[in-house]
């Protein structure tokens, strides 16, 4: 049966390998120069001086945006794998009618389904796990340089640790499940991409922030690499809007364009210092809700865990539907 799966789905497997291969090549080609550049940055002495801080900031300004764009593009990988490797698995059997052959052989339809799913599920999980190691290597200089977007930042989080493998497996399981429900290849592919994207969006935008109760602090100094979920100004327990902020800042002629962005005016005294500190000294509180970078692995296991459970449920549901499905 392993030969069967290989022979029927070798294109899908090749596609998965090619996709990861191309992405890996890209990461290597852009990552090696970045690592070399960081070696120079890290060797700057004396560490912590203004000069070296500026060297670090120059490094981040040069490389961080590119890394961000790369990670944005790499988000598509699990969805593509789910759609191209998972969805056609069962959908094509219905579309071409070959299930009338496959399900009447002595092997039996449930065993046949499991025997087809398992090698591919294991294969995509391993491939994506290996790729996420490369992602962690790739992004290390940016993390070490202390970029504001730490390891919990959404587009980085789901490409590193165990999350990428979990998301890829989930996409595959969604694809296979869509295949048995929809029974046509192209619609199943679209359904897979749409549902995976919706799940990923809801997780990144809402769910992940609450795996553990976020830390809320009024200290304006947030630990490096923390994932800031919310940051706002409060006066006397009530949210303070831009008007209130500007009123408070009026005496020193600083204008708040946004609650985090301040513009000094012509009448700003030279020694006004940090507008944030000024506001705090004048009765406003800045409350920041964040998740510290130290929770990275805890969150990885939580997310990996429920995605794995979801994948197993979907695959079990698929096999159950195979048993029940009539011609």
């Amino acid at each position: 049966m392993a030969w069967v799966t290989w022979r029927q789905h070798r294109l899908a497997l090749a596609g998965v390998v090619a996709l990861f291969g191309a992405a890996a090549a890209y990461l290597l080609v852009t990552g090696l120069p970045m690592h070399d550049a960081y070696a120079a940055v890290a060797g700057c002495r004396p560490a912590g001086s203004d000069l070296c801080n500026r060297v670090v900031n120059d490094f981040l300004r040069t490389y961080a945006p590119g890394v961000g764009v790369t990670f944005g593009l790499l988000q598509a990988i699990p969805a593509l794998i789910g759609a191209f490797a998972g969805a056609p698995l069962l959908a094509r059997e219905f579309e071409t009618g070959t299930f009338r052959y496959a399900w009447t052989q002595g092997f039996g339809r449930a065993r046949w389904t499991v025997a087809k799913l398992t090698p591919l599920a294991v294969g995509v999980t391993i491939a994506s796990a290996a790729f996420s190691l490369l992602v962690s290597w790739y992004v290390q200089p940016i993390i070490d340089a202390g970029d504001n977007n730490g390891p919990l930042y959404p587009t980085l989080f789901d490409l590193s640790g165990v999350a990428l493998a979990a998301w890829t497996l989930a996409a595959f399981a969604i694809g296979v499940f869509a295949g048995i429900l929809v029974r046509r290849v192209v619609p199943a592919m679209f359904a897979t991409i749409a549902s995976w994207a919706a799940l990923a969006f809801v997780t990144g935008a809402f769910l992940r922030a609450h795996y553990l109760a976020p830390v809320v602090t009024s200290n304006p100094n947030i630990p490096t690499g923390a994932w800031i979920i919310n940051q706002g100004w409060f006066k006397g327990g009530n949210p303070a809007g831009l008007d209130t902020i500007n009123q408070t800042l009026a005496p020193v002629d600083v204008r708040a364009i946004t609650p985090n962005l301040f513009q000094p005016g012509p009448a700003t005294p030279a020694n006004v210092g940090d507008p944030v500190q000024y506001l705090i000294q004048h009765g406003l509180t800045q409350l920041t809700t964040y998740q510290p970078a130290s929770r990275f692995w805890t969150f990885q296991w939580i997310e990996g865990g429920w995605l794995l459970a979801l994948s197993l449920i979907l695959i079990a549901a698929t096999v159950w539907l195979v048993r029940r499905r009539a011609a």
Binding site: R7, G97, T104
Partner: protein
Amino acid sequence: MNAVETNGLGKRYGNSWALRECTLAIPAGHVAALVGPNGAGKTTLLNLVVGLAAPSAGIVTVLDGQTAGSAAALDGIAFVAQDAPLYKNLTASEMLHLTRNLNRHFDEGYAKARLRDLGIPLDRKAGRLSGGQQSQLALSLALARRPRLLVLDEPMAMLDPLARHDFMATVMAAIADDGLSVVLSSHVLTELERVADYLVLISHGSVQVAGVVDDLLARHRVLTGPAIEADTYAERLNLVHAQRGEAQAHMLVRIDARTGPVAPGWETHPVSLEELTLAYLREPDAAWLPGPGRAPRLEPTEVAN
């Protein structure tokens, strides 16, 4: 021993019944032909027999009491669906390999010999074979499984007349050698007449005729005579269907206790399977079903200890 037994079998898709109240006992070791117009329910019945569909009502058992679709049933039944489904991007020899991997018994030597005799190249992708060759490949794979029951849905649709003849010859040889039972659906009545010994006629989701062919043909006759006398004569007979021309009428009748000698001016002919089938199809209310006194004596099914 019955190859297929159904009792009150029915299948509903949504709100419409594709098959209703189907009660059959198809004996083993014979060729049973499933005949009927398009959309009558033949494919539905075959799907129920091979376990691709689950009954909405009634039961279906195969190979002497096995549940349709069970592991034992799958082992013993080889099925070729309409359009002979194959994996188009696998070569013929890969299809052999696949079928061997998916079944306990597979006579690869037999399959290869048969394909060689038919001139089907082993290294060509199944999608690149002609329609007839694809049919032959699918049939060869089914036969090579050495099944106890071979179920075929319109197997001869893609075959040329010579190929049809050869195919039926192969099937007959397998029946004689291995005790194979065959259930096949077809439109090609003339071919079936020579080989089918059990007939099931399905129309509009109901079984209209079910019986041993010899029995059927022996118990029906065509009476030909003057059209004006047709109606009065028909009252004394068990009429299935009458075809009236201007001068002559042909009446297909069942022979029973009431049938006396042929009236003067009338001639009697034996009926062909095709004529019989067409007559019943034209009379949806007429039926010939196994019942007390009319069914062939089937051997009692063995009860497993």
